[in-house]
């Protein structure tokens, strides 16, 4: 067992492009669920609409990368508006039902045979991010070493842009959470009728939170697409949404740094379990599994760990225990 390798592989993953994408999606969800209490179970659809908006423009219609980014964002905002208009007037659980269904509808439409010409069917679309990598100031070559960590030039460029976006969105969240605007969101989370009785247009604030959070998640969708230089429908399944919730709750909802800590920790644990298991199988320490089964086992272990977390630390790592105590009153 090469513990050094296991450790570096896990850390690389925890700082890598996919973690960044999950982190961006969790920052958006934090605004919607953490601060406003909107049970949005369709976050994957917002990543998909952004990723596909970009990919379709560049690959199918051969337009520029920037048109792709713009259309991706507009598609995400339009989807948020479409989902929010009928549901945000209703009770919180309706939004959950509608968003989870809508996310599946989006995924099934995207992978349908009927739209294969434009959307690529189940194979998805490829080769739309080349312009992004041309913008990279990093020289060509295999990659760059940071001590024991090795990142490819391409991934490093995605990471630089991605973590900058994380910093920017966290700053926005920080400022908004302390503003009168954020105060209204937190009020809505606690009791929206009380906020209404004080003259605030609750519906409109919920819409703003949904759309802003969807847009931030959309950037996560771009990052995933750009990193693989491909989009395919099954990346954006409901499991992605649950991973994002896990990250948010692990780090601590309604905390600015919650999604960041959650994403890094989640990425690390996920990869650590994965690599450790496959190393152990390869070294014949574990004989009752073969290497193809380790990917499933890590999901079981991560799930079990999260259950323990929920039981013993329901407020997440950065959460405030006093707030949880209030619920028991």
């Amino acid at each position: 067992m090469d513990w050094g390798f296991i450790f570096t592989a896990s850390v690389s993953y925890a700082l890598g492009a996919l973690t960044v994408a999950y982190c961006l999606a969790a920052i958006g969800l934090n605004l919607q669920f953490g601060y406003t209490g909107l049970l949005n179970f369709g976050q994957a659809a917002f990543l998909a609409s952004a990723g596909y908006g970009m990919a379709v423009m560049v690959t199918t219609f051969e337009l520029s990368f920037w048109v792709g980014i713009t259309v991706g964002l507009l598609a995400t905002l339009a989807l948020a508006l479409l989902l929010g208009l009928p549901t945000l007037r209703l009770r919180a659980d309706y939004l959950a039902i509608v968003t989870i269904a809508a996310a599946e509808v989006v995924r099934l439409v995207v992978r349908s045979v009927k739209f294969k010409e434009t959307l690529g069917g189940s194979d998805g679309l490829q080769q739309f991010a080349n312009r992004f990598y041309e913008l990279s100031p990093l020289s060509d070559g295999f990659g760059i070493n940071f001590g024991p960590f090795l990142f490819s030039n391409q991934e490093l460029w995605v990471m630089i842009v991605g973590w900058s976006l994380v910093a920017l969105f966290s700053l926005i969240t920080f400022l908004l959470a302390r503003s009168p605007w954020g105060r209204i969101l937190k009020g809505i989370r606690e009791d929206e009728d009380a906020v209404r009785s004080l003259g605030k247009n609750v519906y409109w604030y919920k819409m703003q939170a949904l759309m802003l959070g969807a847009m931030m998640a959309g950037f996560g969708g771009f990052i995933i697409g750009i990193f693989f230089n491909a989009v395919s429908p099954d990346i954006y399944a409901t499991a992605l949404t649950f991973a994002i919730y896990t990250i948010l709750i692990l780090g601590g909802a309604a905390r600015v740094a919650g999604p960041i800590l959650g994403a890094i920790l989640f990425g690390f644990l996920f990869q650590f379990v994965n690599v450790t298991l496959s190393e152990a199988v390869n070294a014949d320490y574990i004989t009752f599994l073969d290497s193809s089964q380790t990917a499933q086992i890590r999901l079981v272990l991560v799930g079990a760990g999260l259950m323990l977390l929920m039981i013993y630390r329901p407020q997440g790592i950065l959460g405030d225990r006093r707030e949880i105590a209030l619920d028991a009153r």
């Binding site: 503003s179 009168p180 954020g182 009020g187 009785s197 004080l198």
Partner: protein, 328 residues
């Protein structure tokens, strides 16, 4: 736009100046002196007028109010036995519930179909019988939320603190002032969810005042508040009238109703059955019947009626007798 400062109402500006010697209580009493003592009586200067309001829940008609007017600048009590429809009527007037039929207006502006937040911005703010404090916000944040026309409540302004800091300071000063008046200043930095039931009532009332309403509608403001504090709160409510606000409140405590209200409206089974100054209403035969009719123990009601128990006694007009709250 969510934070529209144009709708903010300054109650003090909209009222007539009073002479130095006459208090607003005397003004209100004088204005109501000639009003007919009957359900739906017309008032000289109504701020709120409701017509033909009907709300049914399945087969039950919870509210069926033909006509009612609320006099500006007065304290009006809305009383009635449990289930009379008082809270439902409040919900309908403030847009939290939709009537099956009827029209109503505030300052002559029709309120049909107006959403609750707009009703509040027009200057008509209500509290809830089951208190709605925002548990995971601190007491002072609860208070700040009440202020209207906040610049920082717009998304892009909220991002830039210098644009709203000074306004926030003014709001905080006003909030601290109210908290002190309501004996909550020591709880300022605590989560509202950690307050006791009575303290929550106080916070909700203080928060409603942050909106600077023209008409305050309080649903059982004193339920669960201890007697010593009730006295000082009664003072505050009277004070609201002196500041030019109109108060409409639901209360079961007849001592309080008698003490502070200028006018009493009585509801029973959804309809307004009597109106008048407190002492007159409490000796009205229809009112006594309504309270007795609502009594769960029918045989006792019959006995009481047969034995002809003195009306003022039943309604607690004499301090020595129990109030109907204890009976219902």
């Amino acid at each position: 736009m969510p934070a529209d400062s144009a709708d903010t109402t300054d109650a003090a500006d909209t009222t007539v100046a009073v002479g130095e010697t006459t208090s607003r209580k005397e003004v209100a009493t004088a204005a109501l002196a000639d009003v007919a003592r009957e359900p739906g009586a017309a008032k000289p200067d109504p701020v709120l007028v409701a017509d033909g309001i009907v709300r049914r829940f399945g087969g039950l008609t919870a509210v069926n109010v033909d006509h009612v007017e609320v006099q500006r600048g007065a304290i009006t009590a809305l009383i009635g036995p449990n289930g009379a429809g008082k809270t439902t009527f409040f919900n309908l007037l403030t847009g939290f519930d939709k009537p099956d039929d009827g029209t109503w207006s505030f300052n002559e502006r029709p309120l049909n179909g107006v959403p609750p937040f707009r009703v509040a911005r027009m200057g008509m703010v209500r509290t809830f019988q089951l208190t709605k404090v925002l548990s995971k916000l601190t007491v002072i944040e609860n208070m700040r939320l009440g202020a209207t026309g906040q610049r920082g409540e717009r998304l892009f302004f909220g991002l830039i603190p210098p644009l709203w800091r000074s306004q926030e300071r003014d709001i905080t000063a006003r909030a601290d002032d109210l908290l002190a008046r309501f004996n909550l200043d020591s709880k300022r930095a605590e989560f509202a969810g950690s307050l006791s039931g009575g303290q929550r009532k106080l916070l909700e009332m203080a928060r409603a005042l942050m909106v600077e309403p023209e008409l305050v509608m309080l649903d059982e403001p004193m339920a669960g508040v201890n007697p010593a504090l009730t006295q000082s709160l009664l003072g505050h409510v009277k004070d609201l009238r002196e500041q030019g606000m109109t108060v409409l409140f639901v209360e079961h405590d007849m001592d309080m109703v008698r003490d502070i209200s200028d006018w009493v409206i009585v509801m029973a089974q959804g309809a307004v059955i009597a109106e008048g100054p407190p002492l007159e209403v409490m000796s009205d035969q229809r009112v006594i019947d309504a309270y007795l009719g609502a009594h769960h123990d029918l045989s006792l009601a019959e006995v009481a009626a047969e034995e002809g128990i003195d009306a003022p006694e039943l309604l607690g007009t004499h301090d020595s007798t129990p109030s109907p709250k204890d009976a219902s």
